[in-house]
Structure formats: C-alpha cells, structure tokens
Symmetry: C3
Subunit: 466 residues, 3 copies
C-alpha cells in the first residue's frame, strides 16, 4: 500500500493509520539521516511561497535536499506572475508540468485545494491563510507521540490566539481524531471560532463544555474557556461541577500548546484590544503550578512575548524539538507522496469521514469569507462556488475550499419554479419550509437583494423581513 | 560539431539547422527525462532575474536540475548590487567567474548582449525588456513543429498586443526564417512596430500587405491588419483582392498565437485606451469559425482576459503543452551550450544574415530607445554606442544592443572637416548629400543642438530647418 | 588536526597558521575544481541574508555546489520571520537544527556572534553591519599572497572610505597580524575610526604615525593620513621626517586597496559632504606615479565611481581575480568547518590574543552603538550586555558583540556598597578612584541619570559635573 500521488491539503487527507505509519517512517529516517540521501534523487520539489516564510520553507527544502532531491523555489511570487494577474489554477498547471511535487503557502484560504485540483502532481499545503497548516500539525502530533507514546486520552491545553492560529485549528481536529481531550485557554477576544466547535461536536462526536468564570478556582492563573472531551472519555471532565475540573487538573496537563497573537490577521478592533497588552505569558512562574509539573511546553514558533526565554532551558520545553523534528517528518512525507517509499498501514480506526449532501444549483451564494480563494477576482473566471450542506436547522453551508461555515438567510427550491416563472419565490431560511426542500433542489441566498437579482420574489415565508 | 560556449541572445544566434538539431535532441530527452540526470553534474547555472518572473525562471532551473546540475539564483537582484550602483558588465564578469552558464532576464533592452560580451561563459537571454525572449520562441516553434511536422508554409496568426510583446517579436522573425506566412491581428493601437516590418521585408525578403478595413469580409470577427508572406510563397496571399483573403482563410489558419496586453510597458495614452476594454478575446465562439477548425491555440502565458478558460478543455489548446515542453527544450539547450552533448546539424538553409556597414565615428548619437542598455547611467561609463547603418534613404541606424532602428535627422562627413575646422558643417539627413558620404566617414545627429554642441555649423543643406 | 565545528565570526577566529593552511587547501582545490565535487555531498548549507547581497551569497552558494553540497537560501529574510518579531537566537536555533553550516549576513553588528552562540553548528559571518566581513578578508589576503608569495613586510595602501568599510576593518587587522605595513589614504571625513587605531597599537603592538598635511610632498596626489607599521618593521617608515616618506614611497606600494563610499551607512552630514563629490578616483593617471609601478590594484567590489573602468585592462588590476578566487577560498573554508577535509597547520606565530578582564556586574551600561545586536528590542529579551575592560585610563569597555569601544563617564564599585545602601555612590570615570576598583567589582554608567536610576548618589569625585 502506498501514498504515491496523494495530496496533503488538510490533515483530514491522512487517516489515523496513515499518520501512525508516517511517524514510524519518521523514526526510521531520524535514526539514519545520512542513509536517506539519494532516495529522491532526480525528483524536483517546487516550493511556492506566496506569503513570506522562512522556517517552513527552509524545513521543506532541507527535507528534500537530505533525500537527495532538487528544489525550485519561488518565495517572491507575490511580486511576479500574480502581479500579471495570473490565476492559481494556471500557476498550478504550469508548475505541475515542471516539478514532481508542489509545496504551497498562500494567503487565500482554500488556495492549496485549488492547486491540488489543477497541478496533476502531489500537493502539500504549507499554510493557506487562516485555514490549515497540516505539516505543522504532523510535527506537533509527532512530538506529543514521541514524548508520551500515545495521543489517545491525553489532556492537551491550547493557549493564546485560538481564533486566527491556523496551526491550532489543524491540531485541534487531529487531536480530536486521535481521542485526546482539549482544554481551551484563549487570550480574551481570541476564542475558538464557532465553526471549529461545531465541527468538533458534529464530526468527532465529542462534547464541548463552556467554563463559566466561576467554574474554575484556578481562574486567575488559568482563564480556561471551554473543554472538549472525546467520545471515548467518560464525562468526568466535561460534565463536571467545579470541583472536578480542579481534581482533573491536579492530575496534570500533558501538553500546553502556546501560540503567538496572529496580529497580521487582526481586525482594527482586535488590534486595539491587543495593544492593551493582556496576552497571557507562559513563564517559569506559570509552570510552577502543580498541573504543569510534567507538561510538555509546545509552540509552533516564531514566538513574540507569549513564551518567556527563561523557559528555554527547562526540560519541559519542546518547541525547538518540534522544529527540528519537522525535517524528518517532512522527509517521510515527501518520500511517501513521491512514491519512493511505501508503508504498511496499521489497522487503526479513523472516525469515518462525515458525508454531507452537496449544494449544486447553478444559482449559488458567494462564500462570505473575504479571504476565500473562491471569490478572488482572478479565480472566479474558472472557479465555481461549491458547498456542503452540513445542517438544515439553521441551514448551514460549508465552503469546500476554505471550509468556512455560514448560514444563508433565504432559500428557494428549484423544484417549485422550474418552467413556472411566477412561482419563483424565496423564503426565510429559518421558516419550516427549508426542511422540505430536497438537497438537490436547494437554492440559497445571503441577502434578499441577491434573491431578487435572480428574479425571485418574496413569499409569505420570508420571516419578519417584510 | 558542437555549440559549446555559444550564447543565445537573440533567436538569430541559432541557424535553422541548429534549431532543428536542438529539437531533435529535445525529442530524445523528452522520451527519457530520468535518463538525463547526471548529464550536467557538477555544472553551475546562474539564474539572474532583474525583473520578477516565476514561470521562466523555474522552467530553466527545473531543466538544470533534471540534468543533475546545480543552480545559483538571484531573483531579487533589483534590490541588491544594482542598488549599490553596479554596472551590468561588472555583474557579468563576477558571476562569469563563479558559474558555468548564465541565464539573464533584465528590463533593459540589450542587457543580455552586454552580459554575453563580458561574462566569458555562455549566456542565455531569458527576456530583455521588449527586445527578445528567444527560448520562449524555441518553445513556440517546437510546439508548432511537433504538431505539424513542419513550419515552412504554415499560416500563423498573431493575436493581441503585437507592439510590446517581446515573445511575438522573436517569434515573428523565427517564423519568417522558417518560411511561414504570418497574419497580424493586433488589438487596436498595438500594431506591429514599423522596425519589425522593415526587418521582415529587408532581411527575410518577404512581402507585407496592409489589409484595409474593407479588405476583409471577416472584419468583425477578425480585425486583420497585415499579412506577411515569405519569399517562397507565391503571392496568392499577399497580392490578393478581398476575395482571396477569404479563400485563403477558408483553408484554415494553422496556429493562432495569442498574447496578453503588456500593460506594464504601456504609455499613459495606451493605458487609457486599454481601460476602454476593446482587447479581443479568444473563446469558444471565435474558435467556431471555419478558419480555426484545426487551429493550434497558443499563448506564452500568463494570460489575463484575452484567452477564456473555457478553451482549456479544447483539444486545440496548446498553451499548457508549450509551457511543459519548455523544460526539455531548455534541457537540450543547456546541455548543448555547456558542451555536455553534441549535435549533428542537418544541412539546412538559413537565410544568409544581412551584413550592414557599421557606424564607427567617435562622435555618435545616443540610441533614442529609453530602455536601451547603452544609455543607462551605470553603463555609459564603459559602453560606447554602436550602430549598423541599415538604410541610407532615409538614413536609418540600428542599435547593436537593443536593435531599435531610428532615423537621425542631421549628418556630417568626417572626410569633409578633418583638420579643416571651418568646414565642419552639418546637413539634413534627407538631403541628397547623405548618399555621397562613405559609411566610415558618416557622423549622425538626432538634433541640431547635438551637432552644434560638437562644433558643427548648419550648411545650405539642413533642409527647411533654417 | 582539524577545524570541524569551528566558527568564523571575525578574522581573529583563525590563527595565522590556520589561514596559511587554508590557503594551501585553496591552491589544491583551485588546481582541480571538478575533483572536489562530492566532497560535501549530503551536507546542507543555510544561506541567511538579512541584507541584500548578490555577490557574496552567490559566491558561497557556488562554493557549496562545487563541493556537491546542497543549499537552502533565505535572501528575503527581512520580510519574513523578522517581521513577525523573531529574535536572532531563535532563528539560529531553528536553522541550526535543519542545516549543517550557516552563512549569515545581517545589518546588526555582532549578529553573527549571536548566531554562532545559539546555532549549535558552524557559523560563517558574511558581513554584519559595519563590523566584519572575514571571508572577504581571506579573499583579499589570498590574492596578495598569491601575487607576492608573502604578506609580511609588504606596504599596503588602503584607499577611500576607511570609516564604514567593514571589509577594510577586517583586512587592516589581518594585515597587521601578518606583519604588513599599512598606509591610510582616506577620503576626507572618512578616516579610520579611533577604535581601530587603538586596537592596532594595543593588540598588534605596532605604531601609527599621523601624517600632517605638510608631511607629504605627494600631498596632492596622495592625501595620506596615517601610517601603521608593524613591530617587526624598524621605524624607518614611521619615525620619518618628510623626506623618508618620499623615499619609502619611491620603493613602491605593494597593493592599493580601494573601497567605494558606503553611502548606505553615511550620516546626513556625510551624505551632504559626499554629494560635494571629492571622493578620490583611481585611474590610469594616478597609477602612472612611480610608487604604483608594480602595485596590485584591489577592490572588494561593487565599485561606483572610485575605480575607473579604464584600469580593467591593466595587468595590475586584481579585483576580478579577487572575486573569482572567492569561490575556491570559500570551498576550502566550508570543507574545513564541515570537517570533510583536514589540515596540517604550519607552526606559525600568531600574535597571542590579548586577554582582557571581563565586566560582569548585573548593573551594566548599554552598548552605545545603535547598530549593535545587543541593544535591539527583539534581542534584549534574552541577551545580556557583555564587555571587555580594555583600558582603565580612560576607562574603556569593548562590547563582545559588535567590538565597539566606548568610555563610560561614571563608575561605582560593587565592593563599596554591598549591603551598605548608604554607600552606593558613583564617581567620575576620570577620577583616580577608577584604578582602585577591581575589575570584578566595576560598575560603569554612561550618564549620571543611569547611575541615579539604579539608586546611586553622586560622590565628591563625580568631577566637574556638579
């Protein structure tokens, strides 16, 4: 069994068993780094960075060189073809005809998906806006796994900017899949987005408990916000009175995953708030708490002020190890996707991927995420919006590119009006009608203007809007 | 016979036979890409891009890596040595002492010529301003040749920005040399420059027929502007009444070569005009015309709006093939210029290169092309203007660097005034005197001020200017 | 004996014997460049350029490729991690876990020292602000050595910007160590900084003679400013009446080392002065002087206007040879520091490195050099100022990072006040008290405000300041 020709766009592209097999190959390569030279000789990796990055790019390029492969790099792409108005699909097709594998970082969410759709060769997402950064997640998981020999059942605390940190979003899903419990410690105003929470409960079957301010006696030290528990954990953690949180924490947190404030993605309001300087700091003092006695301190780096240098010498600090392990993790991944190594995949359960009905009417709302690849002017020339219908009450669509979920406000049914133009009526999405529309007939609108622009008229069921 | 040590600055640096031999090596390499690894092991290619480019640079770098060679890249050169005021000649000499071959892109026209003059190693022009881009031309020719097994006698339509597109200029000359007929379909205001037309008729011996608006019944569909026919074509195409154009076109166009508007080179007036949005679009509808039934649709990419995405799936679309074939074409070229492969050159006729007398008086006009390398302040420290005298009525000089032709307005003769200062007179270039001056004595001026600054006085033959 | 694992941060990191052994390896490699391919196969060099540079970066990268090694490059670092606020130490640690050797250029003086302290792998300084550029110095020394078979006893003139040229500073110390005499020909206002002069006399034991305007009959031609003579030279040059300078110069200068004005480091005043255009030019006319009959004309390049192109064809011109020799010099250096080659070091005297007492009180002045790495806001989070006490009258500290010397104005003694808070008094640094403070007790302040901010009070010995 092999992974040759596969893509890694989101962490969901690899099953739990495949990830464990990748880790076992990583172990093997780590043990003999020099012995891997030549494994990818004659292969060419294209490193396309449409956003500045040194760490991730150099890590991938080192990995390819240590396998004996070659690298072509465009780290200044923003200034070149893009400036001539080229679409991502064209770039993907061209570079796909040069190289054997593409590593792509791009500010638009879903961009790596588009590259994978058009390149014709394996594509690895090295970060697409605030969406995902799956190889960082692999480094994080690998570090936890190396230090604890398991992920299932661990208590992992996520600290800092839980809103914009793409590394944390990928990580949260991966941890849920492997059955870890997650404690959320957001910086105020940078809580986990609701669509992440929704995905956790609907797709991974776990529970999320909000922690009210009074719930935690450690409140001053640990401003915990919510706890996610996996289905396999008995609810001792989630269904707790105050005291049980306390007791649970006494048993210790396995890892504390710290992230910097992603200021480059802040809104003006968040920027102002952050200037107030309440971002929490992990330092020696914090780590003296009993709950952190054996905690792995992790960080995807770069750090700013949220992680004190005095922690560097502490044996619990894992962040430089995370970075160092990125090279063999990426070596293993490149060799697998290029098909120069094969794997035996352990028979391991992954949660079955959720199957949602697909929205496919010609008339379609735009994804409301302003950073989504599907709405950029260079991309709309060839790219159609595509959504999964993840819920009906309230009606919720998820963009297949950026995976943002949103709730269209109005609906119509293709069944009602085909060939009967006078029946082209639209209804409020929260009216009971929505559940009677079959997915293949669903038409959704974000606004009434949109509906009317397509020739629809308000019905009795447009809610309080008329 | 081999090409080791040769340069490729303009497409004229390769004879027709050499190009055909290169294509045969390209075929051989395409058939066994992996087998080429190691052919240039230990060789270093310097990739110097003074203008942003991703596609061309990555294509060259991939080619070198697939041959097993190494690459040093400066794609940020604009920001580095240049900013310290270094001349192109110094850069060429230094990099020439590091690497084994140089690939250069530069915004100044003629820059690649200067690099070739100073580097001491083979130099490939990867685009110098609006001048030439010969390896793109090789990819274009190779694609036509692969699809039609010949170039001679084909009808090739060139579409879009025929004024600034350097790829079209190189291509036009190459097609003429191989005996193709060319149909010009310019976007209004972006017609083929006169100096290109002149070169076609004087150096390749063909004929150019302007097509008046009423000449073409297909006017609405195909705003054809001029037709170039090679000497070997009987004049059925060029010397035609309206009807014959029609008939000719019924037989079909072999290839339609589309280019984007090179907006970065537009004047303010052209920019305004282009904002009006009359740039023609190649789409499914256009391609339904009978003349295009079997037409290869070509584009050097990147495209903007002039080529619809709906054409991508059409089997006539060649543009992604053109790009993909760039890698083996460049592999063959690198191996030949580095001397790691040799060729047997077929005995094939190239038009004999035109020999022009050279202008070589100390007093010399400046090339009037503002993008010419020879007039840039860092280069005038060591570079002398050099011209070929391509015509005498009207007197026309062609810069040896950027190959722009221009008509100096005033002349004098070195013969008349040496040691006789009172005879230093200048004359109008359109007076009959000009034909009596021997080339080695010719002194030309663009303005009277220039002449007077060198101590010359007006004669009776300065025309209506006094 | 080998150099594996060693750093090259300043030229003092290599002894004279090691430099000579490196040159012998350079000879060997130059003689068989192709034979070196494979020597560093599988090794990865990280090329981190936080300041634009083409020449130096490409030279290092070529060297690594010619050894068969791989290269990862960040030449756009200014725009990436740094912009996210990352410290140099973190960058060093991360890249140190990817690569086998780091080449670093950075605008902050002392940055390469910090990288070497944290990377855990060999680090080569490719230029840190105005501090040092030791591999350029090796190329310069190697060129002199190749052309003259010795360095000891040569007369080397340094011409141009002697204030900001980091290449000249490294070179001056190296020449002094090898026993050359140095003639300083600064552009007015760009004289050698006093701290360089001080180091020459105190650490290399030589003498520096200022040349008053009237001292030199060649004044118009050669605006010599000072002469440094090594201890091994009898004082015939230094202790001279006018006439002996003349005589000495008649015997000829061995090398004339020209540098461009480092305008990017000029103050506004220097900028204005330089616009006046008095920067001296080396041209054919100057080189006609008898003293220059057999002089090697050297320049680290890039040049601007200080070295005329007409000299290029002169056999005395060495600058393109310097650049070309940079490749084998750097190949030898990389192979040695990576441990893929060993050396037998000739038993050669280096001046014994000066041992200075170290300043190590908790309370410490900041380095006053605004470009010093130790005072940058991202670095003060983990970096403590460190100084050597190089003199006591006047009290002079030298920063261990940027090596700038400075004279703190006030002092106190840790011995006087420990546990006796009422005795925390500070004194003028030029009072006699300073000599009575033992180095381990020394506390220094740049200003009285600084002293008072730490709770110190003025004493009777604060000088005329009260």
């Amino acid at each position: 069994m092999n992974l040759a020709g596969r893509n890694l766009v989101t962490i969901d592209d690899l099953s739990n068993g495949e990830i464990m097999a990748l880790f076992s190959l990583t172990d093997e390569m780590s043990a003999d780094m020099k012995g891997q030279f030549g494994l990818c000789q004659g292969r060419v990796m294209a490193s396309l960075f449409f956003e500045p990055s040194t760490r991730t790019r150099l890590s991938f390029e080192t990995a390819m060189h240590r396998l004996g492969g070659s690298v072509i790099t465009a780290s200044d792409v923003g200034a070149s073809s893009l400036a001539k108005g080229e679409s991502i699909a064209d770039t993907a097709r061209i570079v796909g005809s040069y190289a054997d594998i593409i590593v792509i970082r791009h500010p638009w969410e879903g961009a790596a998906r588009v590259v994978a759709d058009y390149a014709g060769i394996p594509v690895i997402n090295a970060g697409d806006g605030g969406h995902q950064h799956p190889t960082q997640t692999l480094c994080d998981l690998y570090t936890i796994f190396k230090e604890r020999q398991t992920i299932k059942g661990l208590k992992i605390a996520i600290w800092g900017d839980l809103k914009y940190g793409r590394t944390t979003h990928s990580l949260i899903f991966a941890l849920a899949r492997f059955g870890a419990d997650i404690l959320f410690y957001p910086s105020p105003g940078l809580e986990v987005p609701q669509h992440i929470i929704d995905k956790l409960t609907t797709e991974y079957g776990g529970e999320v408990e909000r922690v009210a301010p009074s719930d935690s006696a450690d409140r001053d030290l640990l401003p915990m916000d919510a706890i996610y528990t996996t289905p396999s954990s008995p609810h001792q953690l989630a269904m707790m009175p105050d005291i049980s949180v306390q007791v649970e924490l006494q048993e210790g947190v396995d890892a504390l995953y710290v992230t910097r404030p992603q200021k480059e993605r802040f809104t003006a309001g968040e920027e102002a708030k952050s200037a107030g300087g309440k971002y929490p700091v992990v330092d020696k003092k914090l780590l003296r708490a009993k709950a952190f006695r054996k905690t792995l301190v992790m960080h995807p780096l770069p750090r700013v002020d949220e992680l004190a240098y005095e922690v560097d010498a502490d044996e619990r600090s894992m962040y430089f190890k995370q970075a160092a392990r990125g090279v063999p993790v990426r070596m293993a991944l490149l060799a697998l996707l290029l098909g120069t190594r094969e794997l035996s995949i352990p028979g391991m359960d992954s949660p079955a991927p959720m199957e949602y009905p697909v929205y496919h009417h010609e008339i379609s709302p735009r994804c409301p995420n302003p950073r989504c690849v599907s709405i950029q002017s260079t991309e709309t020339k060839y790219l159609k919006s595509e959504f999964k219908i993840v819920k009906t009450r309230p009606l919720t669509l998820r963009c297949v590119y950026c995976e943002h979920g949103f709730e269209p406000k109005f609906v119509a049914s293709a069944d009602w009006h085909e060939h009967k133009i006078d029946t082209r009526k639209y209804h409020s999405a929260d009216s009971h009608w929505v559940t009677t529309i079959r997915p293949e007939n669903l038409i959704a609108f974000n606004t009434e203007e949109e509906a009317q622009a397509h020739g629809f008229k308000p019905s009795h069921f447009t809610g309080g809007h008329h």
